[in-house]
């Protein structure tokens, strides 16, 4: 495995309160994360809100400066690079934002937004850049003439496509998406996930996808890192992780995925309560207060991420002895009634090819405001 992007003991603390006297209050949002992301893979980072996954994504691209640790890309430590060298490297490392409504400058036309990365890095002549903007727009499922419009004229899914086109414009090698679909309607999520998959193959990208639930990235990720309170607790190839999790927290996340199958198990909640306050994390294993398998050692000794064979690592004292439930790989079944309705729908669609158009991209109205 050749790593394209590596994190070494990456740390980031935020000072939440700095009193005039006494010690400041510190949150360790990312606490000693080490990762190797292989060229060409889709690497997913999952965890509950507040576990530090967005901070980690921003640290990997140095959108925020780390408190400690290193990020290696192409033989250079991004964490300690001078500002102008870092700026030049951003051509290779791009970011997709979570909220498509606030991540596009409202004052710029779509064409200017997509052209901007090329301008910033001096790529091509103005005419070449405009041609590439048109090309990128059609590539992400929009129309070239959309370049003259403004972001507010598009729906959430369309804006996310604009954000993706912008991220692709400079010809990056690594694309990091911070929950790129979580702000979108469920029906649109699948489209954008599929688009990212296609673009990854077409442009030879390495994708890093941040997600808060395992369902979204199930069919997309090559490997998955599960984060809890600023630490990676389990890292494994996606198929293995879904089939047989080794960390109790991963099992919890998997159990929370609703299975849309006839007669399948319902979504369950294995643990109660919220994650502990990250300002004062519990001693020992950080998951022990919520863990159904916790023993004495879990309360006192902090487990470290150790190799568990088959390319997997896990940070759990009891990983070897526990046998945890995964998600069986069965395709979702349908009730007879639902199956009949789907068949009817498929026939109707086949008879009227116009209606098979992607409802997101086949713009029928001049203005669409939001989802």
């Amino acid at each position: 495995m050749t790593a394209i992007l590596s994190a070494r003991d990456l740390r980031r603390e935020f000072v939440t309160k700095r009193p005039l006297f006494g010690a400041p209050t510190v949150v360790r949002a990312v606490d000693g994360v080490s990762l190797d992301i292989a060229a060409g893979e889709t690497f997913a980072i999952v965890g509950e809100s507040g576990c530090g996954k967005s901070t980690l994504a921003r640290l990997l691209l140095r959108l925020i400066d780390p408190t400690g640790g290193e990020v290696w890309y192409d033989g250079e430590d991004l964490a300690h690079l001078p500002a102008d060298r870092m700026r030049a490297l951003r051509r290779d490392l791009q970011f997709i934002f979570q909220d498509p409504f606030s991540s596009l400058n409202p004052q710029m036309s779509v064409g200017a937004l997509i052209e901007e990365p090329m301008r910033a890095h001096g790529i091509g002549t103005p005419a070449e850049r405009r041609a590439r903007v048109a090309d990128l727009l059609s590539r992400v499922g929009l129309r070239p003439e959309h370049a003259d419009r403004y972001p507010h004229e598009f729906s959430g899914g369309q804006r996310q496509r604009i954000g993706i086109a912008r991220a692709l414009a400079s010809g990056p090698k690594v694309l990091i998406g911070d929950e790129p679909v979580s702000a979108l309607d469920v029906s649109i999520q699948a489209q954008v996930v599929n688009l990212l998959e296609d673009l990854k193959d077409e442009f030879g990208l390495t994708l890093v996808i941040i997600a808060h639930d395992l369902a979204v990235i199930r069919h997309m990720a090559t490997r998955v890192a599960v984060m809890y309170l600023g630490e990676v607790v389990e890292l494994a190839p996606a198929a293995d992780l879904y089939a047989a999790p080794k960390h109790p927290y991963t099992e919890t996340l998997l159990a929370a995925i609703p299975v849309a199958a006839w007669g399948a198990r319902p979504a369950r909640t294995l643990v109660e309560g919220d994650p502990p306050n990250p300002i004062a994390p519990p001693p020992g294993c950080r998951f022990h207060p919520r863990c159904p398998y916790a023993t004495d050692i879990c309360r006192t000794e902090r487990p470290v991420l150790t190799d568990a064979g088959e390319g997997r690592s896990v940070a759990c004292h009891r990983a070897a002895e526990l046998s945890l439930a995964g998600l069986d790989g069965a395709e979702p079944g349908r009730s007879p009634a639902a199956a009949a309705r789907f068949a009817l729908y498929a026939r109707a669609m086949a008879g009227d090819p116009d209606k098979t158009n992607d409802p997101e991209t086949g713009q029928t109205q001049p203005r669409q405001t939001g989802d």
Partner: protein
């Protein structure tokens, strides 16, 4: 900002789309209040510019036989306490008043906005230094500060404009700083950094266009304040020097004769009112037209 058309159909569709400039103009044109404001401002600007060409008497010529005459065919707006034509003084005074309003606000914006953006963008010690000085200036009332500065610089219309501009600057520093800090929290600013923009490109393409509307509105309001401040400075002998006219100095003299010659105050007062109204309507209209989010 045109698209490279890849197909004839796309080219036709691209041509059918309105251009950005015409879109702003169309929105502005549809706003009747903004058009009225623009017309008022344009009227006073044209009158001020054409003052030497208009068939009116010398604004400084006194006529002791026609002191405090009520408006009549000979003196359409009446005469003042030493027999000068109020109409002539109004027309020539428009130059001083409009210039004082526009130039002093231009000074305040050109100095205040860069300082405010710097404070908001850089933060830390730069912000602390700029903000403390701004607060110190704001602690002194606007007019007192303008009077002190004008007295320090020496009496003339130019110095009065500089004094008013510097006194109005803290408002723009504070506004630009706050707006910058607000815009900085937006995701699109982070996206600009992720793309690899220089600080200069980020400030000029992301910060300034997004803080422009409130600054425009504040500017129109401050033009009004500045016209009145110029009047006050002229009254104290620190602005427009007699016998050259300005609306402010006319108004200040006229207040002594409100009962005997109300027309002396009526016309300059109405002119100040109208210009201020015009600038406010124009500013509101511009803000709405320039905001791509509004319909």
């Amino acid at each position: 900002m045109s698209t490279v058309a890849t197909t004839p159909a796309a080219a036709a569709a691209a041509e059918a789309l309105p251009r950005k400039q015409s879109r702003v103009w169309r929105k502005f044109r549809a706003n009747k209040a903004a058009l009225l404001g623009g017309a008022i401002v344009a009227f006073f600007v044209i009158v001020a510019l054409l003052a030497p060409l208009l068939p009116i008497v010398d604004p400084t010529a006194t006529d002791w036989l026609a002191v405090r005459q009520a408006p009549s065919a000979v003196h359409p707006f009446g005469t003042d306490e030493i027999g000068r034509s109020v109409l002539s003084r109004m027309v020539w005074g428009a130059q001083a008043s409009l210039l004082a309003g526009v130039v002093s606000v231009a000074i305040a914006v050109c100095l205040g906005v860069p300082l405010g953006v710097m404070a908001g963008y850089l933060g830390g010690w730069t912000d602390a230094a700029i903000s403390r000085v701004t607060e110190a200036m704001l602690a002194a009332p606007f007019l007192i500060l303008a009077i002190a500065l004008a007295a320090f610089l020496g009496p003339s219309l130019t110095n009065a404009m500089i004094a008013i501009g510097l006194s109005a600057m803290p408002i723009f520093i504070r506004l630009a700083r706050g707006q910058t800090m607000q815009v900085m929290t937006e995701d699109y600013v982070e996206s600009a950094r992720a793309v690899g923009l220089t600080h200069w490109a980020l400030v000029t393409r992301y910060i300034l266009p997004n803080i422009f509307p409130p600054i425009l509105v504040q500017s129109t309001l401050t033009i009004a304040t500045a016209i009145i401040a110029e009047a006050s400075l002229s009254f104290l002998g620190l602005g427009q020097q007699p016998p050259a006219p300005s609306w402010g100095s006319m108004l200040n003299v006229a207040k002594n004769f409100l009962e005997q010659a109300p027309w002396m105050a009526l016309y300059p007062g109405a002119a100040i009112f109208l210009v201020v109204l015009g600038f406010n309507l124009l500013g509101d209209g511009l803000r709405d037209a320039l905001d791509p989010r509004d319909h």
